[in-house]
């Protein structure tokens, strides 16, 4: 800016102003510099407002209905088993029961299928009150180590599960350490229902995030056992349960995919589940649930989206009607200069 240059430096200014007037400083005209770029000037006219609200309402209500019906189609069986799977005599000593290696943790549950469930039926475990999003927890992993054997020793972020017996733990960190280790065996009328545990993890994780040359090492070899053990001869990229677990949940109540049952389940089928109740959620008041569910385009069972869309859509329709009424009963000519405040008093308009 010429003015600035002239004011900040005496020397500079000297030459600026001594320049003769041979060239005019008149600003060149352009629509940009004169702030006259072609522009659209939207104004909220009654027609626009009513149309906008009505349109939103008309779009949202069908979407809401569609979502609701999609959610309705989902068949979901939820069974909380953490309390029931503790024998009567241990109910007051849950922790001791879980921590003891002597006790038998096997537990059998029966589930009735309420509606026909089309294959694939997804098997989830749901944990409540488990803060997989706790700051201490989410940080406790080493993505470098998971990817490549070369970074095996990169365990700084994994404390206190970084090293065991002086050498690095693979996979290190609290997340891996606390790997869920309940197992479910399903049978239908004493016939085993196969649970497919392949392809339950994201393929992107298997291909790029968990190395195929990284093998579990030193895992769960410390004094505290947090959860499942891993087969040291299978590379991490094939350990799908671990990969699913390591994708930490966003919320303290979450589901993780356990496997898929690839047969249809009929109405009133009685499914027997044999649960190895190994995972200790009792120490922090967590709940464990087994979930069987089908899916539709909006995912699992969730009425919220439909309700929300219906509410917003309904509200918009209501507003659009309100505005119609308001415009009918209190009309105002747009752009009438007699409404300008300085004209209003003089012209006798009520202010």
């Amino acid at each position: 800016m010429n003015s600035k240059g002239a004011s900040t430096s005496g020397g500079d200014g000297t030459r600026d102003s001594s320049a003769p007037r041979r060239n005019s400083k008149k600003p060149k005209y352009s629509r940009f510099t004169q702030q006259e770029l072609p522009a659209c000037k939207p104004i909220l006219t009654p027609a626009w407002i009513i149309t906008a609200f009505a349109l939103v309402g008309l779009v949202f209500v069908p979407i809401g209905l569609a979502s609701l019906s999609a959610s309705e189609q989902v068949v979901e069986i939820v069974d909380r088993y953490d309390i029931d799977c503790i024998p009567e005599q241990f109910q007051n000593h849950q922790l001791a029961y879980m921590q003891s290696s002597q006790t038998n943790k096997t537990c059998t549950r029966n589930l009735i299928v309420p509606r026909k469930m089309n294959s694939p039926v997804y098997v989830y475990y749901q944990l409540d009150n488990f803060y997989q999003n706790h700051r201490r927890y989410v940080k406790s992993r080493s993505d470098k180590q998971l990817r490549s054997k070369a970074y095996e020793h990169v365990t700084d972020s994994c404390k206190p599960e970084d090293k065991a017996n002086g050498s690095a733990i693979v996979p290190c960190g609290l997340i891996a350490w606390s790997l869920f280790n309940d197992t479910y065996k399903f049978s239908l009328d004493s016939k085993v229902l196969e649970v497919n545990k392949k392809n339950i993890a994201w393929k992107s994780d298997q291909d790029h995030k968990f190395g195929s040359d990284v093998y579990p090492k030193n895992f769960q070899s410390g004094e505290l056992i947090g959860g499942a053990k891993l087969n040291a001869s299978i590379p991490l990229s094939e350990q799908e349960d671990l990969i699913v677990w390591m994708r930490t949940a966003a919320l303290p109540t979450f589901r993780k995919l356990y496997g898929k049952i690839e047969v249809d389940l009929e109405l009133n089928d009685k499914i027997t589940v044999v649960i190895q109740n190994n995972y200790n959620t009792y120490s922090f008041g967590g709940k464990k649930k087994l979930v069987l569910s089908t899916t539709t385009w909006i995912g699992g069972k969730n009425d919220f989206l439909g309700v929300a869309y219906l509410t917003v859509g309904g509200l918009c329709l209501f507003l659009s009607i309100c505005f119609v009424l308001l415009y009918v009963f209190k009309p105002r000519t747009l752009g009438d200069p007699s409404y300008l405040s300085w004209n209003r008093n003089a012209a006798g308009h009520p202010s």
Binding site: S3, K4, S7, D12, A39, L44, H134, D205, K209, L251
Partner: protein, 1184 residues
């Protein structure tokens, strides 16, 4: 804060504009003859003014002997000796602030003067502690680093430019007298930077002066040199400087020249210099006329030789090159209040988090040891805890961490955005073609970059008159000579051929400007005769031609036989008078230091100038003593009427005096500037008395000014009246319309002028400031009690008028019930008794009740006092506009100072925040640019608060579901980039380009300006409403996905990506709803930012080592994701949109109606154009 700014001329202020400066004259004691050898043309030679303490200090200072401590000793032509005792600065200058080495530390140091930056630095440092590491190292420092980098690059570029200009400046060459080297003493070229104090420098014509130097010799035998000071103070006329007689007699090659100069320490007063020179054992005193300053140029003088006394950074021009003044805008002050509120909110959020975290930790105390997600205990054997320091410490850490996580509640990017937006706004103001002044070829100048938006909130405009409302191009209109008015009813402008010209040899010299002549008067002059009438008229014009300080210059024309005489002088009035005299045949042809040559009706006569008494504001007149060719000695005096009538002999010619007084009254009610001219013939005895007194006074070393004034006052008495002159100062183009627009805009225009009351009132009429239907209250008092009474009467009057119009409104509602407008006219004498006394309060009451205030005969400091009267008592924004040095104090006092780059030099511009060529540009500046700037900046600040708060609230809701452990689902990079990249550009673009109304509408309905005055676009209520909306929107952003994914397999990163995109889309849609004008740049930035965000999120999720690898791809593949984004956007915007639709339609603001008018206006065009005009009466015309 205004007082903190450096004044160009800190101690005394130059006299008020309208009257005439005069040079001091001193008889040379060395030369026995009554020859005059020194005349100064310094208009601004400090003169004492009544009531100004600074002046008396100054007087005292000038009488003080320079003590050794206060002085510097310069040995003439002996730079090594000069420089061995004191370390004087060399002549190299350095305006660059930084060097390569010091750039980083100094620039950072300066940037961290901003409190906000310290805040972000502290947070970045906190984040480096391992216990608090919320963000990674890089991510935490990035925003601050980015902001610092942008500013540093900007500073570095500016500094580089300064360095470049320094290099050029330092590399120029000048001729310096070489030491006693081989080949004798001669001048050799030396680069400017190598010049040292004490060296002898020779300057040729049209060369710049490299340093401040005392003149020793010039090509003129009398030692005169003309300098042009345009680079110093912008005044384009020539000023005269003198070498001392004592040095003139020496030889130019300095053979055997010894002496030293004892001068005051370097200071920034460009109109003052105080020194004495000892040469050959004789002490000679030096003053401002003996020094030439760096930056000036030598003109009309073949060469000049001087000795360097101040060099480089110690020169006056460098000491005066202060940066642009820094003020803080009203909006920014308010913004700081809301920033404090936001800090409070931030602290509340942090406290809530840390209290809840404490409660949670206590409730889960027993479970923490082994719970998989906490694992407090490292191993079962020892008791040691891992990364756990007890509940108290954990709470404390949580508090600090929450501050880190929620830090952007205080919008760091806002500061840099505001600077960029102001830069953009300044660019558009400078480039605005309608603010360009063709006449002076000057663009609009933005000297202060941080008060753009204040232009939209002005309530009071204080305007100077001369040069601001008027052009300051004086034109001789009429004269009253010997009691006869020659108003020139039949006056005609002479054609090129018939203009009066002087024959010099075989050449014709003609005055450059032509003036209308009155034929009757011309006849009278030509008819000659020794009759009283003709004699008086001739003496009148002789006085006009002689009693001044004008220098005639001859200018070549294409025709070698013709030359033009160009009169150069300080005072436009004098120039006008001399041109007038020339037109009537009294052509001032030549001025040397001792005599003037006047062509009197074809006869070239030489007059000796024996004495010159300069103008001062006590006497308000100037006089010359002229030795005429017929050996008579005459005293010519001209001055303001009230001062002149005091010294005119009233016992004779009483009828002439009375007639002249009548004419004067008539002239000034026409808006003309009047001067009275008188003369007296001095007898031999009187002249001898005067001469001895004058000689004594002028050889006194200290207190000379006072003594000279006394001598002048002694001789200026018992004058015969010759007549009076009327000079017109034309109104600038468009002034009446501009004033009317400003008045419609609810801006009160006050005019503060040094002119007489009648002149001021008539100008007031001609520029529509005053109208005939106004009730005028005139306060014109000479004592305090009288003032008090006048004020009380005035208050009673305004109350009565207010009650009257109120009553009128009650009885006849709905019809035109215009309030009776009141004008207050007050003069400087009354103000002396009012300002800074208890009467100020009364004046304030009266003045604010009046529609127009006109202050006449005010001194510069009184102008500032009147501005302060309003500024200190109200919150209203004030703007002062002026063009002269006498407006500097007022410009600096007001919230916004505007300088007119006109005829009177650049002091006003140098002190101003904005500068422009014409008064009428003020309308465009305020009503259009001011309105836009205010509207844009106000919206941008609110929006930035909203934008960052919505993000912080969203993080906060999530923290409630993470056991208060301050996890963020959004990746740290997105958090950091949010305010810097994801959402920064659209708000800047909108802040620079958006216009609520077109220029045409704003100019058509000046009342729309009221929105800024009433602070409609930024206030606490709007802030609170925005914050409520913010909370709702953050709830929508957070809880819609939260509830939709409540019991699902969603992982943190995927949900984080949804939130990131949702918040960016929502805030951009929010902005989009509020944009008034969509041009392609707005579209590009708005949608571009959303796309850029998506790209950034995709890139971040494509890095395998980050935990969120590939989440966005997975989540984008589901229909739910898209439904959620749509749902969030609509649900978030519905309340705001509905409110906006409702208020815009049922409670429309003026701006809204005007916008509709702009779009659908053709329907109502007829009524629209009629109404705003009807509120104003017909303009007053016909006076001029």
């Amino acid at each position: 804060m205004a007082q903190d700014r450096p004044l160009l001329d800190p101690s005394p202020r130059p006299p008020p504009a309208p009257l005439l400066p005069e040079p001091p004259i001193r008889l040379d004691p060395a030369a026995r003859s009554a020859r005059v050898d020194r005349i100064s043309f310094v208009a601004d030679t400090p003169v004492p003014r009544r009531g100004s303490r600074a002046d008396s200090d100054r007087l005292a200072a000038s009488q003080r002997e320079l003590s050794d401590d206060d002085a510097r000793l310069v040995y003439i032509n002996d730079p090594s000796r000069t420089n061995e005792r004191f370390e004087f600065a060399g002549n190299s200058i350095r305006t660059g602030k930084y060097s390569v080495l010091t750039f980083l530390p100094r620039n950072l140091f300066e940037q961290f003067h901003r409190v906000a930056y310290i805040y972000f630095l502290v947070i970045a440092v906190l984040n480096q502690l391992p216990q608090l590491a919320v963000f990674g190292r890089g991510a935490s420092v990035l925003p601050l680093a980015f902001v610092l980098l942008v500013t540093a690059v900007k500073d570095a570029y500016e500094d580089w430019r300064r360095h470049r200009s320094d290099r050029i400046e330092n590399g120029r060459t000048a001729s310096v007298l070489a030491g006693a080297g081989a080949g004798g003493r001669q001048f050799q070229p030396v680069r400017w930077k190598d010049i040292r104090v004490g060296e002898i420098i020779r300057i040729a014509a049209n060369e710049s002066i490299p340093c401040d130097m005392v003149l020793l010799f010039t090509s003129d035998p009398t030692g005169v040199a003309y300098v042009q000071t345009i680079n110093l103070d912008g005044e384009s006329n020539l000023k005269t400087r003198y070498a001392k007689q004592e040095t003139l007699s020496k030889s130019v090659d300095m053979e055997g020249f010894t002496g030293f100069i004892r001068c005051e320490r370097p200071n920034r007063n460009i109109y003052g210099f105080h020194a004495n020179m000892e040469i050959d054992g004789r002490k000679v005193s030096l003053g401002p006329p003996n020094i030439v300053l760096r930056g000036c140029e030598i003109k009309n003088t073949a060469w000049a030789v001087g000795v360097a006394v101040y060099a480089g950074t110690e020169t006056k021009v460098m000491l005066n090159s202060s940066g642009a003044p820094s003020k803080r805008s009203r909006l920014e002050t308010h913004m700081n209040r809301e920033t404090l509120l936001l800090s409070g909110l931030l602290i509340t959020l942090c406290l809530v988090v840390c209290v809840l975290a404490g409660v949670w930790l206590r409730n889960h105390k027993d479970e923490l040891d082994y719970s998989p997600y906490f694992r407090k205990r490292a191993s079962p054997d020892d008791d040691s805890s891992y990364n756990y320091y007890g509940i108290g410490m954990q709470i404390f850490f949580t508090l600090l961490m929450s501050v880190i996580v929620f830090q952007i509640m205080i919008p760091i990017s806002l500061y840099i955005s505001m600077e960029l937006v102001r830069l953009g706004q300044a660019y558009f103001m400078i480039r605005d073609a309608s603010l360009y002044d063709e006449a002076s070829n000057s663009r609009f100048q933005c000297r202060a970059l941080n008060i753009n938006e204040d232009l939209g909130q002005i309530k009071y405009v204080f305007s100077d008159k001369t040069g601001t409302l008027t052009e300051n191009k004086m034109e001789f209109q009429c004269a009253s000579i010997n009691g006869v008015d020659y108003s020139g009813g039949k006056a005609s402008l002479p054609g090129d051929g018939e203009a009066y010209s002087v024959v010099v040899g075989d050449q014709f010299w003609r005055p450059k400007l032509l003036v209308k002549t009155d034929p009757q008067l011309v006849r009278l002059l030509r008819s000659g005769g020794e009759r009283g009438e003709g004699m008086r008229a001739r003496e009148f014009f002789l006085a006009l031609a002689a009693c001044n300080t004008i220098v005639p210059l001859t200018v070549e024309t294409p025709d070698p036989k013709r030359k033009l005489i160009d009169y150069q002088g300080e005072s436009p009035d004098e120039v006008a008078l001399v041109y007038a005299a020339a037109a009537y045949g009294f052509v001032l042809v030549e001025r040397t230091s001792g005599h003037i040559v006047i062509d009197v009706l074809g006869e070239r006569l030489r007059f000796d100038v024996l004495g010159l008494h300069e103008f001062d504001s006590d006497r308000k007149r100037m006089s010359v003593i002229i030795g005429c060719p017929d050996k008579t000695v005459k005293l010519f005096v001209k001055g303001a009427d009230n001062s002149m009538f005091g010294v005119i002999e009233r016992s004779i010619n009483l009828d002439i005096i009375q007639a002249t007084e009548t004419h004067l009254h008539a002239y000034s009610s026409l808006g003309l500037r009047t001067l009275v001219i008188g003369m007296r013939e001095l007898s031999r005895a009187e002249f001898d008395d005067w001469q001895s007194a004058y000689e004594k006074a002028s050889t006194t070393l200290f207190g000379r000014g006072g003594l000279l004034r006394a001598v002048a006052a002694n001789v200026e008495c018992n004058l015969h009246i010759l007549g009076a002159s009327g000079i017109e100062d034309k109104l600038q183009q468009g002034v009446p319309e501009a004033i009317e627009s400003l008045r419609q805009a609810g801006i009160k225009v006050w005019v503060l002028t040094g002119d007489k009351q009648e002149t001021a009132i008539s100008i007031g009429y001609s520029c529509k400031l005053l109208t005939s239907e106004m009730t005028q209250i005139v306060i014109n008092s000479h004592s305090k009690d009288y003032c008090r009474k006048s004020l009380e009467d005035a208050i009673a009057m305004t109350d009565r008028l207010a009650a009257m119009s109120l009553g009128a409104q009650n009885t006849i509602t709905g019809t035109e019930s215009q309030r009776v407008p009141i004008a207050l006219i007050i003069d400087g004498t009354s103000l002396v008794y009012i300002l800074e006394t208890e009467l100020e309060e009364e004046l304030f009451k009266v003045a604010t009740a009046c529609d127009v205030v006109l202050c006449c005969r005010v001194a510069p400091l009184q102008k500032a006092g009147i501005v302060a009267l309003i500024k200190n008592r109200t919150d209203d924004m004030t703007l002062a506009i002026g063009d002269g040095a006498n407006d500097v104090s007022m410009i600096q006092m007001a919230d916004v100072g505007v300088g007119i780059s006109g005829q009177e030099g650049r002091q006003a511009v140098m002190a101003s925040d904005f500068a422009m060529g014409q008064f009428r540009f003020l309308v465009t500046l305020l009503l259009v640019h001011g309105h836009w700037n205010y509207q844009r900046m106000a919206y941008m600040i609110l929006y930035n608060f909203y934008r960052n708060a919505v993000f912080v609230f969203m993080l906060f809701w999530y923290v409630l579901y993470t056991a208060f452990s301050l996890t963020t689902a959004i990746t740290e990079w997105s958090s950091v980039l949010y305010s810097v990249i994801y959402t920064a550009l659209p708000t800047i673009v909108v802040g620079i380009l958006d216009k609520d109304l077109s220029r045409k509408t704003l100019l058509k309905y000046p009342q729309l300006y009221g929105s800024g005055q009433r602070e409609e676009r930024y206030n606490l209520k709007l802030f609170i409403l925005t914050m409520m909306d913010t909370v709702w929107q953050s709830l929508a952003i957070f809880f819609i996905p939260f509830l939709a994914y409540r019991h699902s397999t969603i992982d943190g990163s995927s949900l984080g990506d949804i939130w990131t995109l949702a918040v960016v889309i929502l805030v951009n849609i929010h902005l989009a709803l509020d944009v008034f004008r969509w041009n392609w740049i707005t579209h590009a930035s708005m949608w571009g930012c959303i796309v850029a965000t998506a790209i950034c999120v995709i890139i971040i999720d494509s890095i395998p080592v980050l935990p969120g690898y590939w989440s966005i791809y997975h989540v984008m593949g589901t229909g739910l994701f898209w439904l959620l984004l749509l749902g969030i956007t609509v649900a978030g915007m519905v309340p705001r949109f509905a409110m906006k639709a409702f208020t815009e339609y049922f409670m429309p603001s003026d701006i809204q109606i005007a916008r509709e008018l702009e779009k659908f206006g053709n329907l109502n065009e007829a009524t629209a154009s009629e109404i705003p005009m009807s509120t104003f009466s017909q303009p007053q015309q016909g006076f001029i």
